[in-house]
Amino acid sequence: MTTTQPETRRLVVEMRDITKKFPGVIANEDVTLEVRRGEIHALLGENGAGKSTLMSVLCGLYQPDGGSLHLALHQEELCETVLRSPRHAIQAGIGMVYQHFKLIPTFSVTENILLGAEDTPTVLDLKQSGARIAEIAERFALPVDPEARVWQLSVGEQQRVEILKQLYRGAALLILDEPTAVLTPQESDALGETMHSLAASGVSIVFISHKLDEVLAYADRVTVLRGGKTAATVDVADVTKADLARLMVGRDVLFSADKPDAELGPDALVLHGVTAMGDRSVTAVNNVSLTVRGGEILGIAGVAGNGQKELVEVMTGLRTPTAGSVTVRGADLTGKSAIDFIQGGVAHVPADRLGQGLAGNLPLTDNVILKSFRSEPISHRSFLNKKAIREMSIRLIEAFNVLPGDPDAKASGLSGGNQQKLILAREIDATDRLAVGDEPAVLVAVYPTRGLDVGAIEIVRDALLNQRAIGAAVVMVSEDLDELRTLSDRIAVLHGGEVMGVVDPASTSKDDLGLLMAGERLS
């Protein structure tokens, strides 16, 4: 699909020796990034490697403390440029698409694109502007209805609107900040095609990622950042996944988990004919029967929005089923509240770490006791025991190497990986305490590795396998089929709130899983 070899194309962006310091942190140190015309350039690195800072410099949000920026987006020759603000960056032809979209849901696509554009007239002619947008959309093969309201669009379509918005403003370089984080696998592939067609028409793309597979799948070249410095810039064709991981983490990384055979214990969590309503009073979980035994990992696969959220809420007592029964370690907890499930032995690593799993403004100490504050020694009668809280915090922080390990620091100050470590530490501590005796505890982990870098993913997977080894019943919801197949002993596939089948990962191909996820039963 490429007409010229990338090497022969001219440079449009050159960031030379960029240094950016924050109080106490050097976010970027002598970082160099070169982007060619019509190239898809991945910026790869772990969380905290300095990717976002570098891109914030490129889109005018931060002024670098050292180094220089040279652009040739609107002219042939590279020219040293100082970007004083995001507006200057837009004028220079740089467009940023953030991970969290900056769209107004009740406005139409046209209105969203016109909003804040430089040449938007005082009196709007939506028809004419819409036509212009449709023309741009067609030229770059970005199918979007200009008159649709943004709330009616899928996440993938909303992302196209964001891209279109930048193109409308004359962007010749698009920066995509972790664009696949919010997309389903299918939407990610569609985005990959979009990027290729954009690149083919001369737009340069920098896409930020910490996922190795998508870098290999979509990018032409990749610059790897590690610890705020440039680790390497390489052609994707010349490297393997293991090479990239080594550049990113600085050591060899194992991609397959070593998993001993399951030693099955008694039934720990039994759902029988469970039906539950979603938030919009539509049946979200339909007649689901599942049994999870101690010592196994039951994977839950499915395209996002097929009842996973509601099913997990039923399993953890956050949602009351309208029919069926939920039995935890032999006790019927149907219709009981979350606290009964917690005390009944269900630990829960939620999907939304800062939204549900932690209170970001509170210190680690308060977050550590979220599940255990009702019991001795954390509290005695009505009073909290500050000394015991502190001891527990320090113990869990050390056990999971949460960094920075200051128990009085706010939870929101932790990186995503460390937030997840803190939640895991807390929930696993709860299962450890409950696992005394023959009855295994239940651990429900929802998208446990989503958004994490390679190092943190390893820790999370090890922790789940370790729970399995000590006899806990683990339920893992994931959209990563490789992860599900690696870790699970059985995989239940959800579609439209129903279990399409419970399969053995060893004897089921990825394609068959895909068919089940799409709602077809295997014959």
Partner: protein, 389 residues
Amino acid sequence: MSFPWKFELERRLEVSRWVSWGVPTLSVLAAFFFGGIILSLAGAPPIETYRAMAAGAFGSISEWADGNFFAVTETLVRATPLIFTGLAVAMAFRMLFWNIGTEGQLVMGAIAGTWVAIYLPDLLPWLPQTRWVYIPVGIIAATIAGAFWAFIPAIMKVKLGVNEIISTLMFNYIAILLYQQLYTGPWKDPEGFGFPGSAQFPEFSWFPKFSEIPVLNVLSGRIHFGFIIAVVIAGVLWVVMDKTRRGYEVRLLGENTNAAQYAGISVIKNVLFVMILSGGVAGIAGLSEVAGLGHRLQAGLDVGNGFTGIIVAWIAKLRPLSVVIVAILMAALFVGGDQLQISLGLPSSISSVLQGAILLSVLSGDVFTRYRLKITRVVVGAGVVGEEA
């Protein structure tokens, strides 16, 4: 052409102890400076005016030497209802329940206290007519009344989703009109020569003045038992919020409702608990005003103590012990400002202007505790893009 410097706010990574004290202090100083300019424009000498305000609020050294602490006690008297309402607001706001109704809850507490003082002795003649009985009974009645007035919007919120800002605000007007109706109508003193107001309370229902209490009798003047109750409640609330499981639940709910529910904490139970607490404390404020000062239900209860309590709570960052200090400083501002009219003959509006300047700068200065101002020189180089814009 562009301004050669650029001002940016950069988030502070950590708020140091110095900043958390230094910034509010500087804000107050800045307010006094700008207030001084306004005073000069109004023809009043700033230094002398401030000295008069300070003397009005706290007294002077020569007065203290004579054992005259009248100014201080007046400030504490003024601070008492603000401590109660400030605490009430702080508790509710802690869990993001926007109780704007402390004014009405205060008034309901005063009505209940009045009923106990004037009508309970006839209703229950066997009840011993001493302060040891009537003050606790009054406090219980006022707490129940204030809590009830807060409970209705709270239950409307948790059961029906009614916005509590609107409902608590409207409940103020109901309470205030009821109170005005009572003291000008059915509860009007039959021997009051037509003046609006209830009959005077029997003395066994009055809050004792400090001059009647051993040890505290070094302070004379109007200062009364209500101040002690307010400070004790502040201490109790500090313990509840900081040291107990219940306080932890409320704190968690205020910070992240989803996380609290995930931890098995009941939203409904805690909203009701906090609102009963909040309304109850505000109710005692009303009792304290009628049983400690006027000794009858009359005009002047609805002077905005509930609303000022919101400002007090906010400046105190919703911390119970800080509420006490902020309420006293706020009262000093009011009392000192009132003195300007007497000692310097300045119009009362001048003191309102000063109050406004100080409050505004403290509240807006708060930005600088969380952000630092970064001033950078803009380098205009040859390659600056968009210079023509």
